[in-house]
């Protein structure tokens, strides 16, 4: 991306970059460079790498189009981008559930990307814990799964999840509780989302 603003963008927070980009669209490239890898990885873990290529690109396009509505009080744009990505993932949730169920069975993946799917299936076959987790994730409602994975993989706080999914924080807590319970049962009692000090 061409950086035309005189300031060093490495020292500028995301909110400022987005503010600049309103007048100078090229500045949005700085946000792309900061987040493309983690957003892509988040989507790839849920839907596979090929779908992630499209959805990660769409995430930044959507973010760019709606940058005027960005809340400048949020200095870091990560949660905002994860929220957009999660909304875009929503239309693939049946595919995600098929993918997870295939993983949980260690069978063949329905995802149209044999290299990634075979590799993952092979790895999962060797790891009973992961197979159980895949089954648990597949059996959750999409809302519960969204909350769990935004917290676990996106490292969003409860408040950030509530903001990006536009649900009350109490809903975030109850969804996370349900999701953790399912994961715990799948693993035979251990809470897989509990942080170990």
């Amino acid at each position: 991306m061409t950086q035309t603003h005189p300031a060093e963008t490495a020292e500028v927070d995301d909110a400022e970059l987005i503010r600049w980009s309103r007048d100078d669209p090229e500045q949005f490239g700085g946000l792309f460079d900061r987040y493309i890898e983690q957003i892509h990885r988040f989507v790839a873990r849920r839907l596979g790498t090929q779908a992630a290529d499209d959805i990660a690109a769409e995430t930044f396009l959507t973010a760019f189009r709606s940058r005027a509505s960005y809340d400048p009080a949020q200095r870091l744009a990560g949660p905002w981008l994860y929220g957009i990505a999660t909304n875009l993932i929503a239309k693939h949730r049946r595919g995600e559930e098929r993918f997870l169920r295939a993983l949980s069975r260690s069978g063949t993946s329905p995802m149209p990307e044999p290299p990634m799917a075979d590799r993952v299936v092979g790895r999962v076959a060797a790891q009973e814990v992961d197979r159980r987790l895949a089954g648990a994730l597949a059996s959750m409602s999409s809302g519960d799964r969204d909350v769990l994975l935004l917290v676990a993989w996106g490292e969003l706080t409860y408040e950030e999840v509530a903001a990006v999914l536009r649900v009350p924080i109490g809903t975030v807590r109850s969804r996370l509780h349900r999701a953790r319970k399912k994961a715990r049962i799948a693993l035979g009692g251990d809470d897989p989302t509990r942080e170990v000090a």
């Binding site: 949005f28 490239g29 892509h40 930044f60 959507t62 189009r65 989302t193």
Partner: protein, 330 residues
């Protein structure tokens, strides 16, 4: 140890090619700022028409794909949209299905059975990802009319504006530049519908081709020429994995406009037409400036969210029949 955090943790990072493609898409959006909203047009569309969702109604030429091409390329990774266009064109050219070679009589109709995501809450434009309705439609091969059940067992025929039909495209010589010129000439000659407000010539050309692909018997040379013409439209890209409303995975030609993104979804093996998908690109007030119709008085205002689907369809069956209401012989 946090098993959830580690789950699928070895997923590879984005490739350089994918990152470059995403960056290029973003840069294109940076260079092409949103057009100023058009002045709002106020009129009501027939209630029935809303069953199609916006994109289908926006089509000026109601033409649908026909039959099935067998065999061909099984790989699904495309270097770019030109690669997709070329491979799809080659598949179209080497087909041997006689469904494409019979010439229908001008007075005939094309029966189309499709599954669509219905509107979420009429009259809002979003469709419901989680529900499906089956529609049976009959398109006149002169491109002027479409017939459908009115929901109460009565067949109604709607007039549609037409700029182009299969026979026009099949006139020799049939070349990618030639068919694209005909499409653009038809777009230029057809007044912009309310749904076309704010759409560029490129976007309207893409929409016209999408309805041609899905809507009228097209000969192999015409299909091949259209596949090769699509990459010539600025803003058209390849979507490696697209899903139609029946859950079938395929590959898509995608056009990203200022307000919505549209996909022509094809089978990744034989490149037959599978369906359409379109979605809203960013949060927009509803009803808003530039939107094509005003809702009834008292309608609650709201926002059409980024990512909301606006059309999602899957073509299940097509057959040329003698008159509207006729079903294919089983």
């Amino acid at each position: 140890m946090d098993e959830i955090k580690q789950f699928l943790g070895s997923t590879p990072v984005i490739t350089r090619e994918a990152k470059d493609a995403a960056r290029a898409q973003l840069q294109r959006a940076m260079r092409d700022p949103l057009p100023q909203p058009a002045r709002r047009r106020t009129f009501r569309l027939p209630r029935l028409a809303w069953r199609f969702g916006i994109a289908a109604v926006a089509a000026s030429a109601l033409l649908v794909g026909y039959g099935v091409v067998r065999g061909g390329d099984r790989s699904v990774a495309y270097a770019d949209v030109r690669d997709l266009g070329e491979r799809a064109a080659e598949a179209a050219e080497r087909h041997s299905d006689d469904a494409y070679t019979r010439t229908p009589s001008p007075g005939q109709w094309l029966y189309v059975k499709e599954s669509i995501a219905p509107l979420l809450a009429e009259p809002r434009p979003e469709v419901d990802r989680d529900r499906r309705e089956t529609l049976e439609l009959w398109y006149s091969l002169d491109g002027r009319q479409v017939a459908m059940d009115d929901g109460a067992g009565k067949l109604v025929i709607e007039e549609v504006s037409t700029g182009l039909k299969a026979a026009d495209l099949a006139r020799e010589p049939v070349t990618p530049d030639g068919v694209l010129a005909k499409v653009k000439a038809a777009v230029a000659a057809t007044p912009a519908s309310p749904f076309d407000q704010g759409r560029s010539e490129q976007e309207r050309a893409f929409q016209t081709i999408s309805t041609l692909m899905g809507g009228q018997p097209l000969t192999p040379p015409v299909r091949a020429a259209l596949f090769r013409a699509l990459p010539k439209i600025d803003g058209v890209s390849v979507k490696q994995d697209a899903v139609d409303a029946a859950g079938r995975h395929g590959v898509a030609f995608a056009y990203t406009g200022p307000r919505e993104r549209s996909e022509i979804i094809l089978d990744a093996e034989d490149y037959r037409f599978l369906g359409l998908y379109g979605e809203n690109l960013f949060d927009q007030a509803w009803p808003g400036e530039g939107m094509p119709f005003s809702p009834p008085p008292g309608t609650k205002r709201g926002t059409v969210k980024a990512g909301a689907p606006l059309v999602w369809s899957a073509q299940l069956e097509t057959k040329v029949v003698d008159k509207p209401g006729n079903l294919p012989q089983r």
